[in-house]
Symmetry: C2
DNA sequence: CCCGACATTACGGTTTCCCGTAACGTTTAG
DNA sequence: CTAAACGTTACGGGAAACCGTAATGTCGGG
């Protein structure tokens, strides 16, 4: 089992619960630390490396309240920073996010070792994950919603998200070509923009731009 | 201190932590129960009344995962139901919601006794609240964000939300009068609808319907 | 170099939205 | 009852979005 664990979680109640789970797994009090901010986390990790007692496991949330300015704003930022200074540390993400494709993306892009969504039986889930990691395995929670892929058979490209963000920010459709040409986004023609929007709406059975914006906001595409 | 407490929370990790807080306050194990669903909660409460050992305190979340169909879908539904059968029970809401005006609304409309947002020091906050309630006081967390009122000086009416929901669902502006006339919403004239939308956008400095929909989605107006 | 396939842009007609003005209806005060 | 004030609706011109089609550009293979 792990001898040194760091918990990064800005909700005290959740942090307490994670600590209890570690206790249940036989990880003693002095084997773990907890912090409320990513910036504190990276400092601790650096210090632990310097003292030749590096952490073995990182348990982190993804989103943090931005009440005080931080260099590392999200769990993703933190994991990237950790991978730079201690690439072999095991990383477990414990987040309210429950969409399988988001978890898979983290698994692939950031090479995390486990993803647990905060849900009905998340404490049990968490323990199973930690045990799996201690045995050198990866752990992908089965409480993740696979349905999202089915609900959204449509794949939004980077071009789409830029376009949708401009619309959601109030840019008139006819002015988008100006922005695209300035920022070297192609295709920049108004006609192409109209066609793309039309195609997206047809595919997703959406009948207006307002409908489309509501759709992507609900699904956190933008 | 309370002798019988019911915790309604669908995240196991949070539930565990709330229970630990109760333990810290000297409320023993057999004095409390916890459930994952609102429907289970109301059953327990009814049973407790029938057995002449009613609960004294209800600690509930607001939003629940809708994985299985429930009669009571939200904490608000639950509290309303509870107030009908046991109006004197103390009610404490423990939610991710941290906007002061939402909490105040619950305080006023549902006559809840305390509101604690899940945040950095929510466990401490929760304990303070429970102690206050045990002493017959109400407790309004000071971790709530007062800023929202300033950010949104605009007050959306019921008419506005109906209108915006129609737009967000893809109803064409020109077709909204048809819907309004059918459902006896006034004013129903296209001209009035245009004027109202225009007024909202001018007031909030929004330049298009897309912009407006993004705005209300971000602020959970609809 | 030429050609075809494809992506991108340009253009024009139609619909919808936008916005100002005027007409109509209702309520209230005198 | 009338007049004024206000809310609602009707109308019309202009702008933007929508959508089909044609023209132009781009890239690779022959």
């Amino acid at each position: 089992m792990f001898k040194k664990v760091l918990i990064v979680e800005d909700h005290e109640s959740v942090s307490i619960s994670v600590q209890k789970s570690l206790t249940d797994l036989g990880i003693p009090y002095d084997s773990r630390d907890y912090v409320y901010y990513c910036d504190d986390a990276i400092k601790r990790i650096e210090k632990a490396i310097a003292e030749n007692e590096p952490y073995e496991l990182l348990i982190t949330d993804l989103s943090f309240e931005e009440d005080t300015p931080q260099l590392l704003k999200t769990g993703v930022d933190l994991i990237k920073a950790v991978k730079e200074i201690q690439p072999k540390m095991k990383t477990l993400v414990f987040s309210i996010e429950n969409r399988a494709h988001v978890a898979q993306l983290l698994l692939k892009e950031l090479d995390i070792d486990a993803f647990i969504p905060k849900a009905r039986h998340d404490a049990k889930d968490l323990k199973l994950a930690i045990e799996a990691l201690a045995n050198g395995k990866k752990y992908f929670s089965n409480n993740l919603k696979q349905t999202v892929k089915d609900e959204t058979p449509f794949k939004f490209t980077d071009y789409d998200t830029v376009l949708l963000k401009l619309l959601a920010n109030g840019t008139a459709q006819k002015d988008i070509p100006i922005y695209f040409k300035k920022h070297n986004v192609v295709p920049a023609g108004l006609s192409s923009i109209e066609k793309r929007l039309s195609q997206i709406k047809t595919t997703l059975n959406l009948s207006s731009n307002e409908h489309l914006i509501a759709y992507v906001k609900d699904r956190k595409v933008i």
